[in-house]
């Protein structure tokens, strides 16, 4: 077995590009990744591509081959759909394929086109990540579902909208200087608390924006990297995936995400690391409360303790465990199907030392990416390590 090396990464700007098709976005990210890797497209043996709402947003299914074509690759290509964890799931499959020796060179990535729809249409499209019969028809939106989790968390453990605002403030601060980020500006706790409510207790600044964008990475086997003398010092050393009941009401607890726990347990065991070894993390903060649930679910904090991590400075960029140095979904943006591999791209850049926030974590050697689908009925966790 060989741990795949991340030979190259590429991202578009995340933001509002309503006229750009997802094929156009993915071409930009994919070609950037191939160029970064210095890999000949003719060597690529497969494309693993994540996308969630292509049918609704641009009347386009079967996007795998379309995306391979867009980056000049003539190889089998498959689209993976796991809601917001779509490209995390694609990444896991690509990692496994390199590991089991089926391929030496793969492109993995994702794209989403969202801002060409209006807010109500996008809200409807995102809502289908929940149970249609029992949740969506009962008026539950995607922010509404996370709001139920937040309210349950407050009821069980305490915590306040101020605590959540500190997470938004942190992630916005981290995005300043990220050329790919949708919001490259700081906000204050007051800005967050004064923003309009989306679904109580979550306001506009507790929510990630609606975003267009694409991400890509080139994964290669160790032997291919050596043969071609590639500069690929970061490896994916652990992968894990967890699942849970689709509807929130069928879960044991509303303020826990066992799918993330299962994914992290598997990925950490796979890499042979524990939470204490992790230098930096990118977690799925589609809503501020989601960052709390992710950090607790993965075992970085006990239940009820994650809510104050940002306010206490533990997860800020100079804290013990910097979280979402990219700006997270909150400030970097959340083009749903692109998000999982964008986390891989940011972490690779952090570990290589060419990230806009690298100076804050100059000795980082282990990074973890947590990508969640829906209300965490799906979750993937990946471990990246700098190799000797």
């Amino acid at each position: 077995m060989t741990d795949p090396r991340v030979a190259g990464v590429g991202l578009t700007h995340f933001g509002s590009h309503p006229a750009r098709t997802s094929r156009d976005l993915f071409a930009e990210a994919g070609l950037a990744a191939l160029d970064d890797a210095g890999v000949d497209p003719a060597d690529v043996e497969g494309v693993f591509y994540g996308n969630f709402m292509g049918e609704i947003a641009e009347h386009q299914g079967h996007q795998g081959p379309l995306m391979a074509e867009a980056i000049g690759v003539d190889a089998p290509a498959t689209r993976y759909e796991s809601a917001c964890a779509s490209s995390g799931a694609a990444l896991r499959q690509a990692v496994q394929n390199v590991r089991n020796g089926e391929a030496d060179v793969l492109v993995v990535g994702g794209a989403e086109r969202m801002t060409n729809l209006d807010t109500a249409e996008t809200t409807e499209a995102l809502a289908i990540a929940a149970d249609d019969l029992y949740e969506v028809r009962a008026g539950l939106t995607f922010p509404g579902a996370y709001a139920l989790m937040a309210a349950a968390y407050f009821d069980e453990h305490g915590g306040s909208r101020e605590d959540l605002a500190e997470i938004a403030v942190k992630n916005h601060a981290n995005a300043v200087g990220n050329e790919h980020a949708q919001f490259q500006r700081e906000i204050t706790v007051e800005d967050a608390l004064d923003a309009p409510m989306v679904a109580n207790p979550l306001g506009l600044y507790d929510a990630c924006p609606i975003t267009d964008g694409a991400s890509a990475a080139v994964l290669v086997s160790e032997s291919y990297a050596a043969e071609h003398d590639l500069d690929a010092g970061v490896a994916v050393t652990g992968t894990g995936q967890g699942g849970d009941k689709m509807a929130l009401h069928d879960r044991e607890a509303l303020a826990r995400t066992p799918a993330a726990s299962d994914a992290a347990d598997e990925a950490f065991a796979d890499a042979g690391i524990s939470t204490g070894d992790v230098d930096v993390a990118e977690v799925h903060d589609c809503f501020t409360i989601a960052e709390v649930l992710a950090l607790e679910g993965m075992g970085f904090f006990d239940e009820g303790e994650g809510i104050s991590a940002a306010a206490d400075g533990v997860t800020t960029r100079d804290g013990d465990l910097p979280v979402n140095l990219s700006g997270g979904l909150k400030a970097k943006g959340h083009p749903v199907g692109a998000t999982g591999v964008s986390q891989l791209a940011e972490l690779t850049s952090i570990l290589r030392g060419d990230h806009h926030n690298s100076e804050h974590v100059s000795d980082a050697r282990v990074g973890v990416a947590h990508n969640a689908g829906g209300t965490v009925a799906s979750a993937t966790v990946h471990v990246l390590e700098v190799q000797e």
């Binding site: 109500a120 019969l133 922010p143 309009p196 109580n200 929130l248 509303l254």
Partner: protein, 120 residues
């Protein structure tokens, strides 16, 4: 039409709500062939308790198009013992608290029919 779900809503609407109970006492909602908690395939329709308590709720300000005229409205998860339900609460936002007792009913028409909760 959604077989299983429609019959469930009809029953709740007429005051004869039920849930699916497995041999190990787990509850779930139709249509289902296996218990999602233990995999048991022997499911029986069991009467839904008359009252539930609100486990969590939110006030939705940004709705999907189907609920454009309703916002802001309250959606809650309520605990009916072996099973939980998700539904809109037929009450003003400031009149709802976690722990409140509710009964289940059905609101909307045709494709938009769904569970609603009435405060007790």
């Amino acid at each position: 039409m959604n077989d299983g779900h429609d019959e469930f809503l009809d029953a709740v609407e007429s005051g004869d709500g039920y849930y699916l109970e497995c041999e190990n006492g787990h509850g779930s909602l139709p249509p289902r062939m296996v218990c999602p908690h233990c995999g048991d395939r022997d499911l029986t329709e069991t009467a839904l308790p008359e009252t539930g308590t609100i486990d969590s709720y939110t006030v939705v300000h940004v709705p999907t198009p189907a609920f454009a005229d309703e916002a802001p409205y309250v959606t809650a998860v309520a605990d009916f013992g072996p099973v939980r339900l998700t539904g809109r609460v037929l009450a003003d936002a400031d009149a709802v608290e976690i722990g409140d007792e509710v009964s289940a009913s059905v609101g909307g028409a045709d494709e938009s029919r769904s569970v609603v909760f009435e405060p007790r």
